[in-house]
Symmetry: C2
Subunit: 105 residues, 2 copies
């Protein structure tokens, strides 16, 4: 278990794909932010604005990153990075708990 | 939208009912805490230790509170209180976003 201290949390969730993907925004003292989210099993396509690092605390997914042709398995403890302004595919195999860090220049 | 400031958030989610109910713990400066959660459609029974106030930011559920015989409809903006050490039933009709406040003496 780990925790984020001295943060602001938005009370209302972000709800996508009929609730199969949900996230909550956590804002840090320096103005940067992360989202903590849950993905239920299913196939999803996401788009980025800022570059993102996605870390998985629980679950299992396969990810197809931009420019790749092979799906890669990601389990609890794994992470991957997605470039800004791109699209990527995720197949959620098991309920997944993730932390997304947005990298702004 | 509202937010909680100067809080600690546990990074890992609490995952119940195969991920159909998930929540995240938010700890306040005075040591009190709340959980922010998502419930997918389904029927659930929950037990309390501390008394709880459950507020709904989105969605729709029916709740059967301890000692009641009629299910009550709860929508976004509504809340209900559950006594300590009790059980209650929830039928989630639409994906629901909730905030649970634990009342410790």
């Amino acid at each position: 278990m780990s925790e984020f201290n001295n943060v602001t949390v938005v009370r209302e969730a972000n709800i996508y794909f009929d609730g199969k993907v949900t996230s909550r925004k956590v804002v840090f003292e320096d103005g940067s932010y992360k989202t903590l989210g849950i993905m239920m099993p299913g196939d999803y396509e996401f788009g980025t604005e800022a570059a993102e690092i996605m870390e998985f605390m629980a679950g299992e997914v396969e990810v197809l990153l931009p420019g790749e042709i092979e799906w890669k398995t990601i389990k609890a403890g794994d992470s991957f990075e997605v470039p800004a302004n791109s699209k990527f595919g995720i197949k959620v195999k098991e309920v997944s708990d993730y932390c997304c860090t947005y990298i702004t220049e």
